[in-house]
Subunit: 144 residues, 2 copies
DNA sequence: TTTATTTCGGACTTTTTTGTCCGCTTTAAA
DNA sequence: TTTAAAGCGGACAAAAAAGTCCGAAATAAA
């Protein structure tokens, strides 16, 4: 469904969000440990997220990553997915056709529309904040 | 969503089904042309489908591929997807966790359950026959 | 001001997926 | 019975995705 990079990106952003809620800055190693991901690869992904303005970074001693809490209610999963995987998942044809719409549909076009709409809706409605509000005791897992 | 191989597999099977309905046997080149896919790669995929008993093949001059029409009402897309991609798409965690269920969920577990159930339902309800019945004039496209 | 710690950026490697090539076997038709 | 046309199977090649390495830049603390 998502690329590995995108899965890590979502999990990392949720974790950084959790920690930012506690006013804690976290560095690369901590993030990779918290979400059980390869350190260097995670570094690359966080770099992209910084460039896209999804997370904040500070270099140097006691540097690390945070999220601007004043924007977490706007920070949707869709933004993260778009930043890493682009919008092909919920936009492009499920059977791989270059052109596929109501006028020139693939055999599963209507079926896929329903499913992709659901996915896109979920991604655009779910914010980092909502995840932390709905799970105040962190009753979910970001690794294993 | 699906691998390229799986996309080709679905399109190829639908095409072979169409032709079998007209009592026509089709060879590799025709299939690849009809669904606009790389010939040799498509050959490999059709090989797998034959092994799985999803399509039939006959070797030699005027050989090619068909589908046993007496079974097309049982031939679901799920079977094709399972044969090529396995069942990770609708079974495994959307955020890539090895263990993820109601007891130890990832943050999006419930959201993903809904979507994957929809996908699985669609794949298990849609048969090759139903596609040909619902689109008697082939008002859909398998290429471009 | 130096130093240790951190992110950044680019080059590189490994693994997986996608795709090709070619000789072998099978088989219908000439 | 020969032959040409098909699928089969295994080795190989290319491209994309996943992941590593390392030196440079930044910066807080000593």
């Amino acid at each position: 469904m998502f690329s590995k990079a995108c899965e890590y990106a979502i999990r990392a952003t949720i974790y950084i969000g959790q920690q930012s809620n506690k006013n804690a800055k976290v560095n690369l190693k901590e993030v990779a440990q918290a979400i059980e991901s390869p350190v260097a690869f995670t570094g690359k992904i966080l770099q992209s997220l910084v460039k896209e303005g999804i997370i904040l970074s500070t270099k140097g001693v006691s540097g690390g990553y945070t999220i601007d809490l004043s924007t977490t209610d706007n920070l949707t999963l869709l933004r993260i997915v778009k930043a890493i995987d682009g919008d092909t998942i919920y936009n492009s044809c499920g059977l791989g056709l270059d052109y596929c719409d109501e006028n020139e549909p693939c055999p599963l076009h209507n079926e896929f529309v329903v499913i992709r709409k659901k996915l896109q809706h979920m991604l655009s409605e779910t914010t980092i904040e909502s995840l932390n509000l709905n799970f105040p005791n962190n009753t979910y897992f970001l690794k294993r």
